[in-house]
C-alpha cells in the first residue's frame, strides 16, 4: 500500500471514533441523538481529508502515521471540550481550521528544508523578536506574561518563537558540529571548543532563557532548555555537553527556587499538596481525586464530575493545563494510557524521521522538534499526575488554546516535510 493510502486508512477510523465520541457526549447532554452531534464529526472528517489531500500533493512521501495520530488527539481534545463547554469547543474548532490552514501553508511554502537552513539567522532573529515582543507588550495573565492582544485575537508569540528558535539551532549546529567536536584547548582539564564558535550559541540560548524567565513562562523555558540540550547531544554526540547543561539547569533551578516565590510554591505543592489541600494544593489534589475516581476503566465520557453546579470546572484550568485529568477520570487508566501511547507513537514516528533522514539539517530539525513535542507532553502529563512539579503548559493538540494548536500544526508540517525528504 502506498504511504498516503496507509495514512487514509488510519485517518478514517480515527475520525469515525471521534464522531462516536461526539455522539456519546451529545446523548449525555441532551439524552437524544440529533444530527448536530454527527455533523460535528462529519465536519472534521472533511477537514482532515482536505489536510490529507494536501499532504498527497505537497509531501507525497511523508510519514503516514503522524497525521492520523494528530487527528485523533486533536478531535479527542475537541470532544472533551465539547463535553465541558460548547462555546469553548466551537472556538477550538475554529482554531483547528486555522491550524490546518497553517499546516498546509507551511507544507506549501517550505518545499525544501534547505530553504529554512539558508535563512537560519533571519529565523533565529525572528524567534528572539517574538519573545522580546511578548516581554515588552505582553499582558500578564495568571502570573505569566504570555499574551499579546491583537484586536480580537490573543497571540502567544512564545509558542511560535520556540519553533523558530529550534529551526535556528538545528541549522546552526549543522554548521558548528565539526567545530564543536574538535576541541582546541582545555580548561581545568576539560576539552573546550574555541569560544568564538560557542559564543552565538550561548548568547541566543541565554537571551531566550532570560526572556522566558522574565515572562515567568517557566514551562516554555524548561521545554526550550531540554530540547536544546537534546539537540546539542544529537549534534555532537558528546555527553559532556549534556553534563554541563544539566549542571547549569540545577544551578538555575536552585536559583529560581530561591529567587521566585511562585517557583517555590510550585515545588512545595508538588512535594506535599496535602499540607494545604483546599487552597494552594487544591488544583493538584483535585486532579488526583479525579484520576482516582476514574480508576481502571473510567466513568465514561460525560459521566465524570468535572463541572461544579456553578458551571465552573472543579479543577481550575481543566480545559487547558489539566485536560489530562479529565481524560483520566472519564476514560480511566485505559484511556489515559491510550493517550500516552498515542504520544509515544507520534514520538516514535517523528524520531524515526530523524534516524532515517539523509542530511544533517533535517535530522537535527526532526530531533529538535520531536524533543520539544515529547517534552511538552511529558511535562504537563507528569505535572497533573504529580510525577513532577507542575508547569503551566498545554497538552499538545488536546488542550484548549489556539496558539498552541496552530504552532503544533506548524511543527507537524515541518516534521512531515523532513520525513518527505527522508524517505
Amino acid at each position: 500500500m502506498s504511504l498516503r493510502n496507509r495514512e487514509l486508512v488510519f485517518l478514517v477510523p480515527a475520525l469515525v471514533l471521534t464522531t462516536l465520541g461526539f455522539a456519546l457526549v451529545y446523548t449525555q447532554k441532551a439524552s437524544v441523538l440529533t444530527w448536530t452531534s454527527l455533523t460535528y464529526g462529519a465536519l472534521f472528517i472533511v477537514l482532515f481529508l482536505i489536510a490529507h489531500t494536501g499532504v498527497r500533493v505537497l509531501a507525497s512521501r511523508a510519514d503516514p502515521y503522524l497525521l492520523p495520530v494528530t487527528a485523533l488527539l486533536s478531535t479527542l481534545g475537541l470532544v472533551l471540550l465539547y463535553r465541558l463547554d460548547e462555546d469553548l469547543a466551537l472556538k477550538q474548532a475554529m482554531w483547528l481550521v486555522v491550524g490546518l490552514v497553517a499546516f498546509l501553508l507551511v507544507l506549501a511554502v517550505v518545499r525544501d528544508l534547505k530553504w529554512l537552513a539558508k535563512y537560519r539567522y533571519f529565523i533565529g532573529g525572528a524567534g528572539l523578536l517574538l519573545l522580546l515582543f511578548t516581554a515588552v507588550f505582553g499582558r500578564e495573565i495568571n502570573g505569566a506574561r504570555l499574551w499579546v492582544d491583537l484586536g480580537p485575537i490573543n497571540l502567544q508569540p512564545a509558542e511560535y518563537g520556540k519553533v523558530l528558535l529550534i529551526v535556528f539551532f538545528a541549522a546552526y549546529l549543522v554548521d558548528m558540529r565539526e567545530v564543536l567536536t574538535v576541541s582546541t584547548r582545555r580548561v581545568l582539564g576539560i576539552p573546550l571548543p574555541p569560544f568564538r564558535y560557542l559564543a552565538p550559541l550561548l548568547t541566543i540560548w541565554a537571551l531566550s532563557m532570560a526572556l522566558m524567565i522574565f515572562m515567568k513562562d517557566l514551562g516554555t523555558g524548561l521545554l526550550f532548555f531540554g530540547a536544546l540540550l537534546a539537540l546539542l547531544y544529537a549534534a555532537t554526540g558528546r555527553f559532556f555537553y549534556v553534563f554541563i547543561g544539566l549542571t547549569l539547569f540545577l544551578v538555575g533551578a536552585v536559583g529560581l527556587y530561591f529567587l521566585f516565590p511562585h517557583v517555590q510554591v510550585r515545588v512545595d505543592i508538588w512535594l506535599n499538596p496535602w499540607a494545604d489541600p483546599t487552597n494552594k494544593g487544591y488544583q493538584i489534589v483535585q486532579s488526583l481525586f479525579a484520576l482516582a475516581e476514574g480508576g481502571l476503566f473510567g466513568r465514561g465520557l460525560g459521566q465524570g464530575y468535572l463541572v461544579l453546579p456553578s458551571g465552573k470546572t472543579i479543577i481550575p484550568y481543566l480545559e487547558t493545563d489539566f485536560i489530562f485529568s479529565a481524560i483520566g477520570e472519564e476514560l480511566g487508566l485505559v484511556g489515559a494510557v491510550g493517550i500516552i501511547l498515542l504520544y509515544m507513537i507520534f514520538f516514535y514516528r517523528s524520531f524515526r524521521v530523524a534516524v532515517r533522514s539523509r542530511d544533517d539539517f533535517s535530522r537535527l530539525l526532526a530531533v529538535g522538534l520531536t524533543s520539544i513535542f515529547a517534552l511538552q507532553a511529558f511535562l504537563i502529563m507528569g505535572g497533573v499526575i504529580k510525577l513532577i512539579p507542575l508547569t503551566g503548559i498545554t497538552l499538545p493538540f488536546v488542550s484548549y488554546g489556539g496558539n498552541s494548536i496552530v504552532a503544533n500544526f506548524m511543527l507537524l508540517a515541518l516534521l512531515l516535510r523532513a520525513s518527505d525528504k527522508a524517505a
Binding site: A292, L333, L387
Partner: protein, 464 residues
C-alpha cells in the same frame, strides 16, 4: 541509528514509561485512599446529582426542598434557622448533619425497596429520586417555641407523651443552613456554639426538676406519701454539708405535696439521704440517666454519679438536682412524659414516615415503650403533685385558663452567673397530649423565666 540518537530515544521512552507507572499508581494503587481522603468531597457532590427526597413537617410545611440547577439538585431550607438544630444540612462541601445525615440513605434512595425501584427507574431513564420524610414536628408549635425562647441561650423540646413524637424542638443560638458557606468558619469557632443542639446535646445540672425523679423514687418505694409531714428550719446539715432553701426561705411544718410544690431543698435532701445513694441511682437509671437516647439522632447521655461515689453530703445535693447530676432538656422531657403517660416513657422520634414521592408509605414509626420507671399509681400521685406546682407553687406562671397544667420548676445553681432556669410540664393534666421541657442558661428562676415559655408552647400544642 547512531549512539546519541539511540540514547535520546531511550531517555524519552523512559519518560513515557515513568508516566504510565505513576498514572497506574494514582489510578489503581492509591485510588482507594484518595477516594476516602477527608479533603475529597466528590461523594457528596456525586449525590447532588440525585434528586433528594423532600422533608415535610407533620402539618405539611416543607422543611427541605431541592432547586434544580443543570444536572445538580441544590438543597434549600425554606424554614431557615427555625428548624436547623435537628434538620441539619446536606452540603457538597461541609457534608451532612442532623436528619439529613441520619436519614441520608432514605433521602438519597439507597435503602431497601426504594433502592431497587430507584435503579429500575434509572434503567427506564427516569430521574432517580430519594424517599420523602414526614416528620412528627408541628411547625405551629415549633414557631411558637422559637419565638418564646427568643434570643436567650437555651433549648425547648415538646413531645407527645402517648407516642414519643417530638412536636417541637429548638435551641439558641442557631444557624441558617442556607448560608453555610459564609457562616462556616464563624459557627465553628464561635464560643456560643451555634452548631450545638442544646436540646439533645447540652448537659446541664437539672436542679429542682430532678426532684420529680427523687419524688418518684420516694413514692414508689413508699418511703413517702403526699401527706407525709416534714419540718423545715431553712437549712439542714448532711455529712458536713449545709443545704439551704433557694432564696433563704423557711417553710416550717409542711407535707410532701407542699415540699414538691414549693420545691423545698431541705426536705428533698432529707428524703434523698433516707432513700440512700443506691435507690436514687437505680431510679435515675430507670428514668434513662446513663442511657443513650433511644433514637438514631444521637445526643448526649444524661448522667447520674455512681452510687458508690456518693457520700452523705453528695446524696443530699443530688436529691435536689445539684452536684454531679447532668441532664439534657430532652431527658427531662422524657422524665415528665413518664408521669404524663401512666409511668411509661415512649421512645422519642422525629421521623414519622418514610414515603415514596407518590406518597406510598415505605416505613412508619410505630410508637413503642422505652422505659417503665414507675407504676401507673405512682404516676397518678406525682401528677397531682405537679398540678399543685402550677396551681399554688413555684410554677404558677405556667397556668392556662381552662386547662389544668402540671409542671415542675428548676433553678440550677452554676459556678458562674445566674442560675439555669428549668421547667418541665404537661397538659391537660388529666389527659396529657403535650409534654414540654424548657431550659434557659444563666437566666434566673425556673418559675419566672422558663415557665412562661412552657405555657406558650403548651397553649400552641393544645390549639389554645
Amino acid at each position: 541509528m547512531d549512539r546519541p540518537l539511540r540514547r535520546l530515544f531511550l531517555f524519552f521512552a523512559l519518560l513515557f514509561v515513568a508516566l504510565i507507572l505513576q498514572l497506574t499508581y494514582v489510578q489503581v494503587w492509591a485510588a482507594p485512599d484518595l477516594k476516602t481522603n477527608p479533603a475529597n468531597t466528590r461523594a457528596v457532590a456525586e449525590q447532588m446529582k440525585l434528586e433528594r427526597g423532600v422533608i415535610v413537617s407533620a402539618d405539611g410545611v416543607e422543611l427541605a426542598v431541592n432547586r434544580q440547577e443543570g444536572e445538580f439538585f441544590l438543597r434549600e431550607y425554606p424554614q431557615g434557622d427555625l428548624v436547623s438544630p435537628w434538620l441539619g444540612y446536606n452540603h457538597q462541601r461541609y457534608g451532612r448533619a442532623g436528619v439529613e445525615r441520619v436519614y441520608n440513605e432514605e433521602l438519597s434512595g439507597q435503602s431497601g425497596l426504594l433502592g431497587i425501584t430507584g435503579y429500575w427507574n434509572e434503567l427506564l431513564g427516569k430521574t432517580r429520586r430519594g424517599a420523602d420524610l414526614k416528620l412528627s414536628i408541628n411547625m405551629g408549635m415549633q414557631r411558637v417555641a422559637v419565638e418564646a425562647l427568643g434570643q436567650r441561650k437555651g433549648a425547648v423540646v415538646a413531645l407527645d407523651p402517648r407516642t414519643g413524637a417530638v412536636l417541637a424542638m429548638t435551641t439558641y443560638p442557631r444557624y441558617d443552613p442556607n448560608r453555610l458557606a459564609e457562616l462556616w468558619s464563624d459557627i465553628n469557632s464561635n464560643d456560643d456554639k451555634p452548631l450545638l443542639n442544646r436540646a439533645i446535646q447540652g448537659l446541664y445540672p437539672p436542679g429542682s426538676v430532678f426532684k420529680t425523679v427523687v419524688a418518684a423514687a420516694g413514692l414508689e418505694t413508699q418511703a413517702v406519701v403526699p401527706e407525709t409531714t416534714f419540718v423545715d428550719t431553712g437549712s439542714v446539715a448532711a455529712g458536713g454539708f449545709v443545704v439551704n432553701n433557694y432564696g433563704g426561705n423557711v417553710y416550717g411544718e409542711h407535707d410532701f405535696t407542699r415540699a414538691f410544690a414549693s420545691s423545698i431543698n431541705t426536705t428533698f435532701a432529707k428524703l434523698g439521704v433516707s432513700l440512700g445513694a443506691d435507690t436514687l441511682a437505680t431510679y435515675a437509671s430507670e428514668f434513662g440517666f446513663g442511657k443513650d437516647l433511644p433514637w438514631p439522632l444521637g445526643g448526649s447521655k444524661s448522667s447520674f454519679p455512681d452510687a458508690g461515689d456518693l457520700d452523705k453530703a453528695h446524696v443530699a445535693q443530688v436529691a435536689y438536682g445539684q452536684g454531679e447530676v447532668l441532664a439534657t432538656p430532652l431527658q427531662m422531657a422524657l422524665v415528665a412524659s413518664a408521669v404524663a403517660n401512666g409511668g411509661n416513657i415512649m421512645r422519642p422520634y422525629l421521623v414519622a414516615q418514610v414515603l415514596t414521592y407518590h406518597g406510598q408509605v415505605l416505613d412508619e414509626t410505630e410508637p413503642s415503650v422505652w422505659l417503665r420507671p414507675i407504676s401507673a399509681e405512682t404516676a397518678d400521685t406525682l401528677r397531682s403533685l405537679m398540678v399543685k406546682v402550677v396551681e399554688s407553687g413555684t410554677g404558677t406562671q405556667a397556668a392556662l385558663s381552662g386547662v389544668k397544667v402540671a409542671g415542675k420548676t428548676g433553678t440550677a445553681e452554676v459556678a458562674q452567673g445566674e442560675p439555669h432556669a428549668w421547667f418541665t410540664a404537661f397538659a391537660p393534666a388529666d389527659d396529657p397530649r403535650v409534654v414540654v421541657a424548657v431550659l434557659v442558661e444563666n437566666a434566673g428562676t425556673g418559675g419566672s423565666v422558663a415557665a412562661p415559655i412552657a405555657r406558650k408552647v403548651i397553649a400552641a400544642g393544645l390549639g389554645l
